[in-house]
């Protein structure tokens, strides 16, 4: 194991860490600002990849798929946040959405039991669904919905519920094949330095993480919005007191977090593939990044991502027998010693 080995392994670890940074930073921001443990974050990652595949399939442009997928998932994230995680404002829309969902399931169930009620046609099914939805709406509208903001556990279970729904929906929309995003041909080459091959795509991942990290830092440090975000992280109540619209901050952050996760999905899709189950594979890794680095800290996420990327790489290369243990045991230790992570604020 000469220098070559160490150089290549370090490079690989850093590039993997770069990908983890994209996923972890979004999760970290969402937690830091909103105190929401978002278990659908992995689903955002997966959906980013799938939407990119659809865009590539339709237009053939990989470059276009990056912003489209990220923005689309950001929109999904905002919808989820506005409708379900922050109770005020859109109560009727939420009730309507749930009612439609129930209506469709109810109609399917009725059609399955008594096929003749719909006359066996799509139009019949749609009408039946509409009728079920109307009934569901009237009933649901009478039940008060209780805010989930103050309750960590209910937030967690709510996002788990969404993660399952997203997973099944992705399966129904895109099918269950193992797919792969193919970046432009030029990016599949390698740079050769001193006889060592450095795949260009890994270089691109590192570059992308640096650019995104720098942009995030600028936004957080140099803009009004960033200042508002930092104030909200430190003390939400105080921030509200001095006139910061924490509601808008929270919406902005959720959109940003989902955006970053989806971007990670598109970029990572060419590196990990896109397939059902990827959502729950990437989730614990993202949590490892956030927990080690500290929730709500951008610098922490960067360090955490690098640490997990390198530890994972060297751990697998040098001590393959304990590769899962090396991931979770440090998480336990850090949580036990300093629950807020290495760089998290109390």
């Amino acid at each position: 194991m000469g220098t070559q080995f160490w150089v290549v392994q370090a490079f690989n670890g850093i590039s993997y860490g770069a990908l983890l940074f994209l996923v972890g930073s979004g999760l970290s921001l969402i937690f830091g600002v909103m105190r929401i443990v978002n278990l659908s974050h992995g689903a955002y990652f997966l959906w980013g990849g799938y939407i990119a595949l659809s865009v590539i399939g339709a237009t053939g442009s990989w470059a276009l798929s990056l912003p489209v997928a990220a923005l689309a998932v950001a929109a999904i994230g905002v919808a989820m946040e506005r409708l379900f995680l922050r109770s005020d404002g859109f109560a009727r829309l939420r009730t309507a959405l749930i009612a439609v969902g129930l209506g469709v399931l109810g109609a399917l169930a009725l059609a399955a039991r008594w096929g003749d009620v719909t006359g066996g046609s799509w139009a019949g099914l749609v009408m039946l669904a509409a009728a079920c939805a109307a009934i569901a709406y009237v009933l649901l509208d009478r039940i008060p919905v209780l805010a989930v903001e103050t309750d960590v556990l209910r937030q967690v279970l709510l996002t788990v519920g969404f993660a399952f729904l997203f997973q099944q929906a992705a399966l129904d929309i895109w099918g269950g094949n193992n797919m792969d995003i193919n970046p432009p041909h030029e990016m599949t080459a390698s740079i050769v330095v001193g006889g060592l091959y450095f795949p260009l795509y890994r270089v691109f991942m590192i570059g992308m993480a640096i650019v995104i990290g720098a942009l995030l830092w600028l936004v957080m440090e140099k803009t009004r919005m960033g200042a508002a975000v930092r104030a909200t992280v430190d003390d939400a109540q105080m921030a509200r007191g001095v006139g910061i619209d924490t509601n808008r901050v929270s919406m902005f952050i959720f959109a940003l977090g989902a955006f970053l996760a989806a971007l990670g999905g598109v970029i990572g899709g060419a590196f990990l593939g896109i397939y059902p189950g990827l959502d729950f594979e990437i989730l614990p890794l993202a949590f490892a990044v956030v927990i080690i680095g500290g929730m709500g800290s951008l610098g922490g996420a960067a360090i955490g991502a690098l640490a997990v990327g390198l530890a994972d790489n060297f751990g697998k290369a040098l001590f393959p027998e304990v590769s899962y243990f090396t991931l979770y045991a440090p998480m336990v230790l850090i949580l036990a010693v300093k629950p807020t992570g290495l760089f998290g604020r109390e």
Partner: protein, 333 residues
């Protein structure tokens, strides 16, 4: 008086279960057996969540060690297939408790959301070992337990097994109920409500929580022992994160802090996952929907519906629409 009514109605329900299920087709017997086994696990989660305010995302770990212990003893040493089944039950509870005693040292250093995270990580450690420690656990292939115990009662018969698991379930319910109503249980509730006040009153709150954690581990181990024989096969899939999440959902669905709620939740989740999936291909939407709807509309679970209706009536009378419900686990601030 109201307690007596509650106890009576639970006993009546149990008797009804005992009378109806064995006559309703063998697949129903099978599912009921499995649901009751998970109900024990759910109640152990409820002891932590509902009574102590500790949301554990790693309860599958104790379930897993109980199941693996049973499988390994049965296949390698032929222990636990006769009268010594009862020794394995004791051993399973002990191992579950021992593991919880170890994990508790780490887990109880964290609170709120960090407690969720650390129990998740601990659970994943056990999963990692089950998955990779091939020589002990059979790795990905898992272990076939082979034949079920026969000690006068032949557990190969599904109905006999149903009665045995029912016995364990009812006993666990009674034991946990007595525990929850004991001074120890009362002080746990005190800790859930306001830990600081209990500390000021001179309670060693850490020790109380630790004991609750260990006891929950023991019941987790018990359900694992039963699961190994019910399922006949133990694999890393038994220990995955979703098992822990399921157990938590069962409790929240039925109603935390009620014990019976966890059992009802277990029944519903099993009916959806194992039975509804035999009927329709879109059962996952129903399961996901149950999560979302429960969280939004039933924060106190099914058992909380009567109280919710009462509260709703009062609130409606005043023209207000939002109820006030205690958080299950409060956010760190």
């Amino acid at each position: 008086m109201r307690d007596t009514i509650k106890i009576l109605s639970v006993v009546l329900l149990l008797v009804a279960l005992l009378l109806v299920v064995p006559r309703s087709g063998s697949f129903v017997v099978l599912l009921a057996t499995r649901a009751m086994c998970f109900a024990i696990l759910a109640m152990s989660v409820d002891l932590l969540l509902g009574f102590t305010g500790l949301p554990s995302l790693g309860q599958a770990a104790y379930f897993g060690v109980g199941a693996y212990l049973t499988a390994i003893l049965a296949t390698r040493y032929h222990i636990g297939l006769g009268w010594d089944f009862w020794l394995v039950v004791a051993a399973g509870m002990l191992v579950g408790a021992a593991l919880a005693a170890l994990f508790g040292l780490f887990a109880l250093r964290a609170t709120g959301v960090y407690f969720l995270m650390i129990t998740l990580a601990l659970g994943q450690c056990v999963w990692g070992l089950a998955y990779r420690w091939n020589s002990l656990t059979g790795g990905d292939n898992g272990i076939n337990v082979g034949s079920r115990p026969n000690f006068g009662l032949d557990l190969t018969d599904e109905t006999t097994l149903f009665f045995l698991v029912f016995g364990f379930f009812a006993t666990s319910l009674a034991a946990l109920y007595v525990l929850a109503r004991s001074p120890f249980g009362r002080s746990l509730e005190g800790i859930r409500e306001r830990e600081l006040r209990m500390q000021i009153l001179g309670y060693n709150t850490w020790l109380h929580k630790y004991l609750a954690f260990v006891i929950a581990g023991a019941f987790g181990g018990l359900s694992g022992v039963l699961w190994a024989h019910i399922n006949g096969h133990v694999s890393p899939e038994t220990v995955v994160l979703t098992t822990s999440v399921d157990a938590l959902l069962m409790v929240v669905l039925g109603g935390a802090g009620t014990l019976v709620g966890g059992a009802i939740g277990a029944g519903i989740v099993f009916a959806l996952r194992e039975y509804l999936s035999t009927l329709v291909p879109w059962w996952q939407y129903v399961l996901g929907g149950v999560y979302v709807l429960t969280i939004l509309y039933l924060p106190t679970g099914l058992m909380g519906i009567p109280a919710q209706i009462r509260q709703f009536r009062v609130a409606d009378g005043k023209g207000g629409r939002s109820g006030k419900v205690k958080p299950l686990a409060s956010a760190p601030s």
